[in-house]
Subunit: 259 residues, 4 copies
């Protein structure tokens, strides 16, 4: 079992399972309002939403920036949710910290050691996504950069690795959860949305996330998935999301996991 974190009076780890949900990109107040309401109704703990977006091409939508963070915070506060959003460089740490409870490091930045060192000096918990081709050892050493800097609250997030399979965006590596349990006390959550890139696969894999007794689920949802400004194909509708959670709760109760 992992350590148990108390983040703003929400327990994570040691049997306390988190639902972290939200859109790929923050788009509008109305979008965030509807999503936050859905997450709260489903019993989720954290609202996610990208404001500074790491995109392969400089010509793709780069996110709303600070105004997106404000929309994220506003919606979360209204429904009593925590917030998480990505910070892409050291220079963004102060501004993102003003709006979110948890700072996210994206997959492409897992070995951005300058950023990791600065996050070691932060007082905010850090959600560290696995590099899409990182070994377990590299991932733990990336966490070590943050821990060694004096920040004890790192949350690992498995989000799929790059393989030769062309049909899916990545290959979700669920063995990471029980294997890392033998090496670290850090809580581990899983993101099946980025791992597959296909929303039809997300419910089954979310069930598997509970089944391997991970500490949480990170999932992309949207009131109108097909109109998402990014990652449309992998985003679940609010209805599908809300239908999934009761199933996860039942599976969790079999295994002693409090979803």
């Amino acid at each position: 079992m992992s350590a148990c974190y108390n983040i703003q009076n929400r327990l994570l780890g040691d049997g306390h399972f988190w639902i972290v949900a939200g859109p790929c990109s923050v788009e509008s107040a109305e979008q965030m309002e509807r999503i936050a309401q859905s997450v709260a109704r489903a019993g989720g703990q954290v609202l996610r939403g990208g404001a500074f977006k790491p995109r392969t091409s400089p010509h793709d939508f780069q996110g709303l920036g600070v105004s997106g963070l404000a929309l994220l915070k506003e919606a979360a506060e209204k429904y009593g949710l925590l917030t998480v959003s990505e910070v892409m460089g050291s220079e963004e740490i102060p501004v993102v910290s003003d709006f979110v409870d948890i700072l996210q490091v994206g997959s492409r930045n897992m070995q951005n050691f300058s950023l990791l060192k600065q996050l070691g000096k932060s007082r905010k918990p850090v959600l560290l996504k696995r590099g899409f081709s990182a070994t377990y050892h590299e991932w733990l050493m990336a966490a070590e950069y943050i821990l060694e800097g004096g920040n004890p609250e790192v949350i690992l997030c498995e989000r799929g690795i790059r393989t030769f399979e062309p049909s899916l965006r990545n290959t979700l590596d669920l063995a990471a959860v029980p294997y890392l349990r033998t090496l670290t006390h850090l809580p581990i959550i899983v993101d099946p949305s980025h791992a597959t890139g296909l929303r039809t696969l997300v419910p089954a894999l979310s069930q598997a996330v509970v089944a391997v007794k991970a500490d949480g689920l990170m999932i992309e949802i949207h009131p109108d998935p097909d109109s998402s400004l990014s990652d449309a194909a992998q985003t679940l509708s609010l209805e599908a999301f809300e239908a999934l959670i009761p199933v996860l709760k039942k599976l969790g109760s079999v295994l002693g996991v409090k979803v």
Copy 2:
């Protein structure tokens, strides 16, 4: 949902979940007796055991051959179980068919087209393991070689793919199950033993196999795992195996899967 096969009065697929268990290699009558008893006690359907073994090195133990098949069959019949064992070349099909109910094609032979064509002429169901670096498309086309030959009963078996991660034997690809559901009616079972190579990970991943609603679980067990002639590190003890099955049954009941 997959098709439902009736193999010797045992239903597989369409909600009927199989437990296929046994040692990596058939070693002795006493070993097989104890394992078969355990599989039957746990409510399993099929006894597995290798007799013709595909080994990376010609200097490694190559299996007991025909005498191993006889031990497999004897133990299975005593406890009312079906049998499955690997056939490595066309020339072995007749002799293996004399002893087993289901013919297995191993991962390294997934694209042994000569073998697949001959299996298309067999009247025995074929368990087709995924090549350790095969795409979904290649795997389905390998099945197509058997189906096109006139043999309609192919069972797919996900067993992990080769990635860059050095800590584990392979990376289990559970997304294969819900994804292939959208492409094929063939039943899909999952082997977490070969996928990880570490017995401590097998229970959690077996739970995940039920959670993604696969059609069965293939698992290596042994009365004394550390003394196994092959694959010792990934083999579960009979006690651990029998403790796992009731958990799988409970998870299955949440999801409408009859384990």
Copy 3:
């Protein structure tokens, strides 16, 4: 340096570099005549051509079989060339041996241990292609199956490995050549056609094959590449092939390699 083989009075290895060229599939007498003439004119040693073809789908062209082998042999004899063609199963060894000087094991069959064991009893040299996801160790152990059976003449052939890159068919691993030199005396040739799948890349990579001092080059050529029945995109025209060879000879002379 590798061992030096004398195959039908043609030296291979220890500085003697082979050009092995021909079509993916044998198609007609006229096609083979034109290709054999081109290979001989360029100073090549071996005519290649597929007759029993391993194809991902059973619905793809499967090769001309025995009549293809006859066309291969006829064209090669007219121009004083050796022949190589693939054998896909043990049952084909006798018939293929009647027509060719060197038996080829394809990438998908590298760990078809039944086939390897039978080839160990053959008196024909064996060209063993690397499995598309085989480690160096597995490749050498596959060769060991043949050597241990009593057949001393194995030729290794690097043909690219499967990676995450979608643009090319495979990733050519030229480091295999100098690295395997430290582990084995077996000659190593390289196939840049299958490794890339794109004919425009073949000349540059063929130059690199000489530069790493491999023992030979295996290359797909055709009088009218775009009309090839298989692998059209990666096949060089006879003109491009014949223009390439003098460049390889000059590079070889710098390095003490007799192209």
Copy 4:
């Protein structure tokens, strides 16, 4: 052919081949003096040396920092060489720019978009190493971040990709050179030291780098390789380095490449 850059009166690209050599880490004035002398004697253009080092573990040697940069610059100026060194975060751009002619982005930072955007505003050429699991498309898009920011001089550097092979550090992808020629005008150099991790393989692969007509070679050298503070196994001695260059020049002259 690529574009031709004129960097401090040194031509790169369009047939002008660069030798970029130096130690993994700058260690001392004496070390740098000896290496710079060797690079100049061999006819090289650029002295490399790490001062801010990206290391998997925070407990590994992190480089000498600014004092290392000063040693690099001093040695290079004495022998009329250009300099290149890695910049790991936006905050380091000014200080590294004070000492080097070319700013290097390391493999792990290839998709550090904050850093790339800042480098787009720099007036120094940027050497962009390929991410160890980056596709060609992602690599070109990373370059696009710099180009779009207004910095026209990007040099691509292939340095091996991560595969399943455990024997070598990475798999060198030489097909990248001719393939990218069809997509971009940017010069492409190749680093066989990081690509293999084994110094015995570096000469053969360096020859192959010329053979595919890359625009340059980046190579790790040290007066006493086994005592290197980092990357000892892959570092060539000065003697081996100086013996290699004349061979590269001869190969280049066959192909119209001015080494």
